[in-house]
């Protein structure tokens, strides 16, 4: 004869076993999702094989500098895919052992969008008649804001870089280290895609205030040669 309290104890233990098994299963699923998000190798670009000599602007934490270096890299021809592949190679360079600007490995860039400047909005064309489907034609409307983004040369583009939160959340924190990452990205794009004049950053499709607590991610950065150090004027 099994006493009542032993039966209760038995079923409590069975319940604990089921709860622990459920928890372990949930943890395993979470870990799998985390790893797969870091190593997403979904082929979204057409294969390419032509190797080119590419300039990467590489940062160095020791002296706060950015220096140009050339690497033989196979890149796609299409501009947005090229920009994305460039940035992935750049981050992969920083993930190598002994890197002077160490960053975690894994995919960093979700997408790169290239938008022609100036940025224009669209409004409903009041003079157009509605289509049979009920829709009305729209016309581009230039911005009346004098500070709106303007191209500096024909064909100038704005690059919107959509970073992955897994990269941003794992980025080292500090003014120097964050600024160098941005300068390195800006300089590498400037060296290889000269039509890019301005650069903005998003994280998982959303604006974010800073990269890792310091460097401003809300502003629009001009594309420029970041290997040239800015000089401090002499005192009068």
């Amino acid at each position: 004869m099994i006493s009542r309290h032993q039966r209760i104890l038995f079923w409590v233990l069975v319940g604990c076993i089921i709860a622990m098994a459920s928890f372990l299963f949930w943890e395993r699923e979470r870990a799998r999702d985390r790893i797969s998000s870091l190593a997403d190798a979904t082929p979204i670009d057409a294969p390419y094989t032509n190797t080119e000599s590419i300039t990467l602007d590489l940062a160095n934490d020791a002296d706060g500098s950015v220096a140009a270096a050339t690497r033989p890299i196979a890149l796609p021809d299409e501009a947005t895919a090229r920009a994305r592949a460039l940035l992935e190679h750049l981050v992969a360079e920083y993930a190598l052992p002994g890197s002077p600007h160490p960053l975690q490995s894994g995919a960093a860039v979700d997408d790169v969008f290239l938008l022609p400047l100036p940025i224009v909005g669209h409004g409903i064309d009041a003079s157009a008649k509605p289509n049979p489907g009920g829709s009305t034609a729209t016309v581009p409307i230039a911005s009346t804001d004098p500070t709106a983004l303007q191209p500096q040369s024909p064909g100038g583009e704005l690059a919107v870089i959509n970073l992955r939160s897994s990269f941003v959340n794992g980025h080292p924190s500090g003014v120097e280290v964050e600024s160098l990452t941005l300068l390195s990205i800006i300089g590498t794009l400037h060296a290889n895609l000269p039509q890019i004049e301005q650069i903005r950053f998003l994280v998982d499709g959303q604006p974010r205030e800073t990269l890792a607590g310091h460097a401003d991610l809300l502003r629009t950065y001009p594309s420029r040669d970041t290997t040239v150090q800015s000089t401090v004027p002499d005192a009068p």
Binding site: V139, I141, G174, E176, A215, V232, P236
Partner: protein, 255 residues
């Protein structure tokens, strides 16, 4: 459809008229307090900043450095305004967290001779000095935009950067000087620098070393004593002294 948007720009092929050169001789200088220094120990409260090591947080390092600087500057005759003087970073008289704009507001109201935004990092060595990335303007416009208020002070900030750089070099502290976009420096109306303390050598625990912090604070305090007499505020621009806004170059026009 997008091509249609460029038509007005294509028509604009004549060069824009040259911008009138503003005359600043009669422009009044902005009043500021040569005896006040603003210190902003970055982060605080729930925002701990970067994790230097398991036991050292950026917010603690910046506060300790600010306390040392305050003592040294007070001994040299400065009044020191701090955006926070405890772990919590809250607005005065409330429990609301202090935003970056609040910190800039405190600095701009004090009209100090120098604004130092103190940060700390485990990357690199020595001290990193950053001034704003904004392009310098000849003076402060009547309506100074909040996000680019520092533009009129960039030249002064860079001179202060050079002054501090010389002091660190004399104190044999490794130095990196550059420009960076770190909020809220672009909203400050004072000579403003981001001072980032990095380890003394390769040991990141040196950031918490009182002797190292004292050495850095003494270099800064010495430089600010010289700076006090050198600082020259920019002029207030009247509407007729404003340089014309740069016209966008026409698409298709040759440079």
């Amino acid at each position: 459809m997008l091509a249609l948007a460029t038509i007005p720009c294509l028509a604009q092929t004549t060069p824009p008229p040259a911008a009138p050169v503003p005359t600043l001789a009669a422009a009044p200088a902005i009043p500021f307090n040569r005896g006040i220094v603003l210190l902003d120990p970055a982060h605080g409260g729930l925002d701990s900043g970067s994790r230097i090591s398991d036991s050292v947080l950026e917010k603690d390092v910046t506060l300790n450095l600010a306390f040392k600087l305050r003592s040294l500057l007070s001994a040299r005759g400065f009044s020191v305004v701090m955006t926070r003087d405890s772990d919590a970073a809250t607005q005065p008289g409330s429990t609301n967290p202090l935003t970056l704009d609040d910190r800039a507001g405190i600095a701009d109201h004090a009209r100090p001779v120098a604004c130092l935004l103190l940060h700390a990092t485990a990357a690199g060595t020595g001290v990193h000095l950053y001034s704003s990335e904004l392009e310098a303007t000849p003076g402060e416009p009547p309506a100074n935009p909040w996000l680019t208020a520092q533009a009129a002070w960039v030249t002064q900030s860079q001179r202060l950067q050079k002054q501090l750089g010389m002091a660190f070099t004399r104190a044999s502290i490794p130095l990196v000087m550059s420009r960076a976009s770190v909020r809220p420096v672009d909203s400050l109306t004072c000579p403003a620098l981001v001072v980032e303390l990095a380890p003394d050598g390769s040991d990141s625990s040196s950031l918490n070393d009182s002797g190292y912090q004292q050495r850095v604070a003494e270099a800064i305090a010495t430089a600010l004593v010289f700076w006090k007499s050198q600082a020259a505020p920019p002029a207030h621009l009247t509407p007729d002294q404003l340089p014309a806004a740069p016209a966008a170059p026409a698409i298709g026009a040759k440079p």
